[in-house]
């Protein structure tokens, strides 16, 4: 069709309404933004505004109420748990994904693993907690079998029902999630990269350190970020394993929203949710910085 008489631009847009250029690009993003506004940003806004509302109107007491010892401890535990399970899940998941990616892309094994990972990535809550209790809990069959062979894994304390146990249980859904979101990136590895490295005299280490690694790093970091946020907001599994105290933030939020002993404080719960958004925003900002520095040389 026609192109206007103006100098060549990188984006050839069709002129509308007699040749005037309107910034129509933004309309392309409009459906998604409209949907996100109605079903995501609006509810989030309601929660955020609720954090600043008390019994008598606007108040900062919910936000200042965050400054308590046990809530501070919950945050530290939450962040530690999320960071460790994200890194462990990302590393192990990447290895697993690589093992899958190097197989037949249309083979049965790949299908089985992808489907199983899809199911397991969303498997959580009371059932997952029970699965682990039945395996290595106090009366779990693995615990009893180890005890019969003289190894008592709970000699000092029952770590399954504390943060270390949560890390183990979280990896159960973090690894499959990593496999599913990282596999497409691994599929993009071209055999030419390996050939080029070898023809230049590079070893396997050189290949991973200087060629494939940096090319995969953006996707890897993005997936790790996802795993971090996934672990941070996971509630049901932790609640079934550790149901005393406020060990992590989502449990603290649930306690404040649904306490039957009459001590429900929805305002403080929303303030906690707001702080979680702030934390993830900060982590995303750091992640964006990291992406910029490591992907500078990529197109």
């Amino acid at each position: 069709m026609t192109v206007t008489g103006s100098p060549v631009s990188r984006t050839a847009r069709r002129p509308l309404l007699g040749g005037r250029r309107l910034p129509l690009h933004w309309i392309g993003a409009l459906p998604f933004l409209a949907y996100a506004t109605l079903f995501l940003l609006l509810p989030t806004g309601i929660v955020v505004v609720g954090a600043f509302l008390g019994d008598n109107g606007v108040t900062l007491s919910n936000v200042t109420g965050l400054n308590q010892q046990n809530i501070g401890n919950s945050f530290i535990s939450s962040l530690a748990l999320s960071a460790v399970s994200a890194v462990v899940g990302a590393a192990l998941g990447a290895l697993f994904a690589y093992a899958v990616a190097t197989g037949n892309p249309r083979g049965l094994l790949r299908r089985i693993v992808s489907s199983a990972c899809g199911v397991l990535a969303q498997f959580g809550g009371v059932t997952l907690a029970f699965a682990f209790i039945a395996t290595i809990g106090g009366a779990g069959f693995l615990t009893l079998w180890l005890q019969a062979h003289g190894i008592d894994i709970y000699a000092k304390r029952v770590w399954l029902y504390e943060i270390p146990g949560l890390v183990l249980v979280y990896t159960y859904f973090q690894i499959p999630l990593m496999v599913l979101v990282f596999l497409p990136a691994l599929d993009g590895i071209r055999p030419q990269w390996r050939e080029a490295t070898e023809s230049l005299g590079g070893s396997t280490w050189h290949y991973w350190r200087y060629v494939a690694g940096p090319l995969l790093l953006p996707a890897f970091l993005g997936a790790t970020l996802l795993l971090f946020a996934n672990a941070l907001s996971a509630y049901a599994t932790a609640a079934a394993l550790i149901s005393q105290g406020n060990p992590i933030v989502p449990i603290a939020i649930a306690n404040l929203l649904t306490s039957e002993t009459g001590f429900a404080q929805p305002g403080l719960a929303k303030a906690l949710a707001l702080s979680m958004i702030v934390i993830v925003s900060v982590v995303m900002f750091l992640y964006a910085l990291l992406q910029q520095r490591t992907a500078r040389w990529l197109r």
Binding site: F39, L40, G118, F132, L180, P250, M284
Partner: protein
Amino acid sequence: MTRSRRLKLRVFRAVVFLVMGAFFLVPIGAMFEFSTRGVGEGAPRTLESWTTIATYPTLVAAIVASLELAAITSVTMLVLLLPTMIWVRLRLPQLSRVIEFICLLPLTIPAIVLVVGLFPVYRWMATNVSDSILTLSFAYVVLVLPYTYRALDAGLSAIDVKTLSEAARSLGAGWSTVIWRVIAPNMTGALLNACLLSVALVLGEFTFANLLSYVNLQVEINQLGLANAGVSIAVSVASLLFAFVLLMVLSFVGAARRSLRSRPRVRDPRTDVLWGQKA
């Protein structure tokens, strides 16, 4: 590829699959073992918990509702997210971080709190639009955004979107052709994974449906599980198996359409094995 490298890769794959297989299957095995226990010490094993599942007719309606929700959510997600992501990559790169943050937001807020913000929206919808369970798909699309965005993003970064789209456009293709007939077929792996993630999420979702008082598969399973301990675990394992079979079927459907075209066979330099050429 050298013989030693091929051998190392084979050993690596075998070890990884064995270790991961054990790690993931053992807890499920423990659940299955528990669900077959009889009542009381030394009682014989029984499949009673499993056969009880078949005696609940309400389960069928819940399964159907969840399947419908899964279909609507996946399709809506693809139609909403894929064109937007491609468009942002090509024309609005300054918006990419915003989209990334929006797509991470549903995961930063625990579901129990996010549903608090959704109550007013759903209350309005119940009286003015519809109070059918299918309205849950609006919320589910939001819930799957984090996972599917990552999968699609990984797929998009592995192909050269700009060149493909410019080539197609210069040959006269409209945007819908570019998106659905040029770019999408090059990222079938990512599309499939995104669909697997959203179907699995919808089938496994409990909190939203429960708090908004709708009966989906997991809510019905929870109801069933209150009968006794054995049934609750048996029905959870059954739901995992059901989701697994469904996802397997889904992965074959995607493949069947691709394999209609014939492919030359190529030796894969990474592993020195003969595969059909990748789409």
